[in-house]
Assembly symmetry: C2
Homo-oligomer: 258 residues x 2
């Protein structure tokens, strides 16, 4: 009846603590607040989030399955570290996914869908003109999400997003240089053009070329070091006191088991 179905008593338990913890943990990891290689101290995390260790363990187990976290028995869970090669492999998978979505969409894109994409490309152009990297970044995410959603399936969208999260483990932030924005958006336009023309082969090529371009743009603008130095510091006993500390990094195993 009421407009807002809020229970008068306590807030309705609409989702479990474990899922909330999982979301928060994922956010912390993807934002870099907890850098790769860091050990996830269950007790500290539980205390910081105001829950017990149970939900934290469940959340970490979920992140482990989805690839953001690596667990070593009796040693704990660590934020996954992606090697440069693995990151490139992930890019390649996104190439394949994007190409496929574009190819499928070419044959059946509705004028409405094309209009939506067109608007996004326009928006990115204006963002590039005003050097608004943040806005370009957001629109770019939307564009690719829309592409996957229209051409692929919901499963494809989730896959693409998950791969993106893994990439975020490698590159701290999407480095969008001003000149890259224009180049990138030109490729967007090429995709759109092929889609509008209904040319499946061209759309696929354009989609693949775009992600490959992103991979290249990233690879050329990143430090040439093959593997990250990672945290080598050993905090000793003091850090374990945990007064304000919520995470503690030990030796930081890169990829112990997989």
């Amino acid at each position: 009846m009421a407009d807002s179905p809020v229970s008068p008593l306590h807030i309705v338990r609409t989702q479990s603590l474990a899922s909330l913890v999982a979301d928060e943990l994922e956010r912390m990891i993807l934002s870099g607040e907890i850098p790769p290689g860091t050990r996830l101290n269950e007790q500290a995390l539980a205390a910081r989030l105001g829950v017990s260790r149970g939900p934290v363990r469940e959340a970490v187990r979920g992140l482990d399955r989805s690839g953001l976290v690596v667990t070593v028995v009796n040693q704990g869970s660590f934020v996954r570290q992606l090697s440069a090669e693995e990151a490139m492999d992930v890019y390649d998978l996104r190439v394949a996914l994007t190409g496929y979505a574009c190819e499928r969409l070419a044959g059946r894109a509705t004028p409405e869908q094309l209009g939506t994409l067109e608007d996004m490309v326009q928006g990115m152009e204006s963002a590039a003109d005003s050097d608004d990297a943040a806005r370009y970044y957001a629109l770019n995410l939307d564009f690719h999400s829309a592409l996957m959603s229209m051409g692929g399936s919901s499963r494809a969208v989730r896959l693409y997003d998950d791969l993106g999260k893994e990439l975020t483990l490698f590159r701290r932030r999407a480095l969008v240089a001003p000149e890259n924005m224009r180049e990138s958006n030109a490729e967007h336009a090429a995709i759109l053009h092929a889609l509008a023309a209904g040319d499946a082969a061209a759309a696929r090529m354009a989609g693949e070329a775009h992600i490959r371009g992103g991979k290249r743009r990233f690879a050329t603008s990143t430090p040439p070091a093959g593997t990250e130095p990672a945290g080598k510091k050993r905090p000793g006993k003091a850090a374990a006191r945990g007064e304000e500390e919520h995470v503690q990094d030990r030796d930081a195993p890169g990829e112990p088991t997989r």
Copy 2:
């Protein structure tokens, strides 16, 4: 020193109970022992596996993340039910992945790798000749795994396998009709031929065509009913007594939230 490195005290804790439970649960689900739509009763599962509810919850949470299980707050976790459309989408994703792996492999396949694949195709041919569906099935899995591993990355292999597990949720078992074996293996040979020729485009086409063929062979040999009837039985109270019962199905929500 000894041949079998078994600890004299208790068996070495080489992996956690939660991971063991997760493996066992996955096996149960994929084998059909716990059919889609079934609710996973934590207490019953814990009792059956001889552990407490903690590891079971962690395992279920992991399966939820990997897509085999769907969880509803305060109602429990259910084995996921794939609709026919979703299954087709998963097939399409495998088409894309396989095509991509084949394309990449074409340029750089070593004679050794080609020999390995050749042996598998030969093995499948002999299996088809003797109508040994089980052996064909196993070799087929190996062939595709090898293809992904050689042409793609370890990430691609895992992705492909995970998608395969999801498909298993839909089709109880890979139905390999005798005539299908020959058709399927002819496509394998075509892939191999293109790979040996180093023709990337042809390899991709052949790889894609093969999975599409598998999709078609499955779609034509499956009941035309769009959605599965699923378990509609309401077991009442008797089943909940749990003397030998380890699972209990209630209303079986297909895809409550995603």
